[in-house]
């Protein structure tokens, strides 16, 4: 398959997923709302209704994209490490420590904070990888356990050392200005995070498709036995993939706390967003260059659902249902049984249309 065709078919697939998502949402709204069309309109148009909502949409997409990129690295190596959440908390914590250190008020504040966050995240990513290669520990279990540990460490340090009294011990004092991203559009959340997400996308793509390490990683993911047979040290690849993904998770933590949306550390700041990276990367088929687009699309739906919650009579939980259904559809409709089902649904028409195309 040529690159052009591949690009077209993959884009088509993602557009299909979006249409499915919209259709499903519409059906749910019909059940849940007294004024379904108005509600649907809110859902579809509200993210664009003001500069502020656009900013929130973009900011969410940045974070979803980073989470997706972190997962895409480990998933391409076929490692099911789910530790991005823990990496985000440790990354956020480390960035906070830098912000409140003497460096926090210098021009070094942002780079040093980001670096510290990435190192912290990388370490959290490394542990399950190392445990798997040395002890055979299942990475799903160990990474999920680490998520709890990281979350609790972050909260503990926040409450004991960092929390400001006015906040009722749930957030730190605001960061010094030098430790917060410059906003590109004033009074919105559109800030340096967007550059970080785009740069990370390119870096991940470059690592995966232009370096020997990335090729080894993908070959290990395709067929570990083949990798071993060709002389690839798959346990090194596995550990390094998890570590690199951890660094991205840590980076996301920095983007959270240093971003204009927060500019401080608060309890549970990540709000479950890290896990939504799984959906992003599944829809994007772990392809880094597709991830920002998927994140934008999904971020939009997500934002629409949240605003629908405020402005109409449908609860935001709807987005959870839509999420689930999109995952199911994307994961199934392009595998063999799914294809057979589509073929049956469409009868001979598909065969006929393909013949003419």
């Amino acid at each position: 398959m040529t690159q052009g065709r591949l690009f077209l078919s993959e884009t088509g697939r993602i557009v299909m997923a979006a249409i499915f998502a919209l259709a499903v949402t519409l059906i749910i709204i019909f059940f849940a709302s007294k004024t379904p069309w108005a509600t649907f309109e809110t859902f579809v148009t509200s993210p664009l209704s003001s500069k502020r909502t656009i900013g929130i949409w973009i900011d969410d997409s940045v974070k979803l994209a980073l989470a997706g990129l972190a997962f895409s690295l480990v998933f391409q190596a076929r490692q099911f490490a789910l530790g991005v959440q823990g990496q985000v908390y440790i990354g956020g914590l480390f960035a906070t420590l830098v912000a409140f250190s003497p460096i926090g008020t210098t021009w070094l504040a942002l780079p040093a904070g980001i670096l510290a966050a990435m190192i912290g995240g990388a370490f959290i990513g490394f542990i399950p990888g190392y445990a798997k290669s040395k002890l055979g520990a299942n990475e799903i279990v160990s990474s999920l356990m680490l998520n709890y540990i990281a979350y609790d460490i972050c909260n503990y340090i926040l409450r004991v050392y960092l929390a400001s009294l006015e906040s009722g011990l749930t957030t730190s004092a605001p960061f010094p200005a030098q430790s917060i991203y410059p906003a590109f559009i004033p009074r919105t959340r559109v800030d340096l995070g967007i550059v970080i997400a785009l740069a990370t996308t390119v870096v991940v793509w470059f690592l995966l498709y232009r370096t020997a390490w990335g090729l080894k990683l993908r070959l290990t993911g395709h067929n570990a036995r083949f990798a071993a047979y060709s002389g690839i040290r798959s346990s090194f690849i596995m550990v390094s993939a998890m570590t690199a993904a951890g660094a991205i998770g840590g980076l996301l933590g920095a983007v959270f706390v240093q971003g204009t949306a927060y500019g401080k550390l608060s309890i549970g700041f990540e709000a479950g967003m890290a896990f939504e990276g799984i959906l992003i990367t599944i829809v994007a088929r772990n392809r880094p260059l597709a991830i920002p687009f998927v994140a934008l699309g999904y971020g939009y739906l997500r934002q629409g659902a949240a605003l629908m919650n405020y402005r109409a009579d449908v609860p935001a939980e709807v987005i959870g249902i839509v999420q689930g259904i999109v995952i199911l559809l994307v994961a199934s409709s392009f595998t063999v049984p799914g294809k057979a089902m589509l073929a049956r649904l469409m009868g001979n028409r598909t065969a006929a249309s393909r013949a003419t195309s």
């Binding site: 232009r210 036995r225 083949f226 060709s230 049956r344 001979n348 065969a351």
Partner: protein, 516 residues
């Protein structure tokens, strides 16, 4: 009389643009054995998949007993009485034979599977069609030949009147082929129809009533087996005469010892000795063939030398280095190359491109990787060169290797391993599922590697392949060397057979004469 199955004007273009079937007509008579032969990538498997509803044709019609039918899924095909056994089985390893056969249409006692009834039915079925198999054993404990029987039983249990077999003999030992053919005969005598693909012409001529030949997506002709000869078929398939003859290593050249295998002991997956105390010297410019019934330690021996299985006793030296416990990377650096027995499970990464599969073993080579960065252009050029040299039928280096036909995938693996100009070449079943022309080509290239000074260790389920290529031969029985020969006219399949089945064993002197 109306044919049992008719395909008229079948056309198939894969989404990638490969035109795999071009206006194919095929007509299969009732209760006969109909073979489809042709080069790798000719479109045989594609046609079979269309007849079983796995792939949808872009145009054309299928008729069953004169009635047009549409097969949009395997389910529809099964309902119409068509069954298929793929080259790669789809059995549940931990389930018993009976459970596998009835899976999906189980006899029930209340809500539960009626195990007794299942076993009984399957046993009766097996007896009726001469497919003896122990129905209460988990499938994972069965050799390939028996697993294939289970697949056939699965189709028969669903009342298949037409059975499609995609290269059923490629994975079988000679004895198993004999048994399969006995079953096929009993099937046709009981009114079933068989449609099958094979590459080995003697087999095809022996078992079939009618033979259809495909080339490059087209049907080039259908002949009665009685009127065909190997030569006439080969010419139809390849378009020229094919001579499967390989020159032996030139005599009189001093062969220096290259690889010394001493007291080698290797355990299998269950911790039992699969290879015991094997002593063997491989010399440059020489092919050593290993004969044995499948499961007598060949795979473990090759995996151990290739670095994919730990060695539990003894040593392997390559040149002056001890490679007993070193990594695959170091072995390859020392000059080893390995054509593995399973091109899909071991020899390739299906989702990666052909170019990536080819470069996978060369990632320390400065031509392709510098400072950790891939040189995509030279990787692509290298792949394109090998594709051209081995005439692999593929759109280009960027195609996913998983979309290649079986034989073409094998050519890619062989091309990659030979391109490193190895000094020690491990070869397992190099021409499994490979067409006649390509078999000749692969043999020639193995011989070329030998003439360039490689020591080659070869095993194959096909004795004629070993007899054609090897300069010396050893027979493995239960993991031990029971016989060794210099390959001469006197060594025949019958002679080897008695050692392979454990009926005879050479004395130590006799063996050592050929081993040294």
């Amino acid at each position: 009389m109306t044919p049992f199955l008719e395909a008229i004007g079948i056309d198939k273009i894969y989404p990638g643009g490969v035109h795999a079937n071009k206006g194919i007509d095929l007509s299969v008579a009732h209760s006969t054995v109909h073979a489809v032969v042709g080069e790798n990538g000719a479109g045989k498997s594609t046609l079979m998949k269309i007849l079983f509803g796995v792939e949808q044709p872009n145009a054309g019609e299928i008729r069953l007993e004169g009635q047009p039918i549409v097969l949009h899924s395997p389910r529809a095909a099964i309902a119409a009485g068509i069954g298929m056994v793929f080259q790669h089985f789809s059995l549940v390893p931990s389930f018993t034979v009976a459970e596998n056969v009835v899976l999906g249409v189980e006899p029930r006692a209340g809500l539960k599977l009626d195990r007794k009834k299942a076993s009984e039915t399957v046993r009766e079925l097996a007896e009726r069609f001469r497919l003896p198999v122990d129905v209460d054993v988990p499938v994972e404990q069965l050799p390939v030949g028996q697993q294939q029987r289970v697949e056939i039983l699965k189709a028969l249990y669903r009342d298949a009147r037409l059975l499609i077999l995609d290269e059923p003999t490629a994975v079988l030992a000679p004895q198993e082929v004999v048994e399969l053919f006995a079953a096929v005969r009993s099937l046709t005598s009981q009114g079933r129809t068989i449609l099958f693909i094979a590459h080995k012409l003697p087999e095809v001529l022996e078992i079939s009533d009618t033979i259809s030949v495909m080339r490059a997506g087209k049907m080039v002709g259908t002949v009665a087996a009685k009127e065909a000869t190997e030569k006439s078929l080969a010419r139809m398939m390849v378009g020229r005469d094919v001579a499967l003859k390989i020159n032996r290593a030139a005599p009189g050249i001093p062969h220096t010892h290259l690889c010394r295998i001493s007291d080698l002991t290797v355990k299998n997956d269950h911790g039992l000795n699969a290879v015991s105390d094997v002593n063997l010297v491989l010399r440059t410019g020489e092919i050593v063939g290993i004969a044995g019934v499948e499961g007598n330690g060949q795979s473990e021996l090759f995996d151990a030398i290739g670095g994919l299985r730990p060695i539990s006793g003894g040593s392997v030296e390559l040149g002056t280095t001890d490679i007993t416990h070193v990594s695959v990377l170091e072995r390859r650096a020392a000059g080893m190359a390995n054509i593995p027995e399973d091109r899909i499970a071991t020899g390739s990464a299906g989702g990666a491109t052909v170019a990536e599969n080819i470069v996978a073993t060369e990632l320390t080579d400065k031509r392709f990787v510098r400072h950790g960065l891939l040189d995509l252009k030279s990787i692509r050029d290298h792949a394109a060169k090998l594709i051209e040299k081995f005439s692999v039928r593929v759109q280009g280096p960027e195609s996913a290797i998983g979309t290649l036909s079986g034989g073409n995938m094998q050519k890619v693996v062989v091309a990659r391993e030979l391109s490193s100009e190895p000094s020690l070449l491990l070869v397992s079943h190099p021409t499994r599922g490979v067409d006649l022309g390509a078999t000749e080509f692969i043999w020639q290239n193995i011989a070329k590697a030998r003439d360039a000074g490689a020591a080659v260790l070869l095993t194959s389920a096909d004795l004629s392949e070993i007899l054609a290529l090897a300069d010396r031969m050893i027979v493995l029985y239960r993991g031990r060397i029971v016989a060794a020969f210099v390959n001469t006219e006197e060594v025949t399949p019958e002679v080897l057979g008695s050692y392979m089945l454990g009926f005879a064993e050479q004395s130590a002197e006799e063996r050592n004469a050929a081993l040294a």
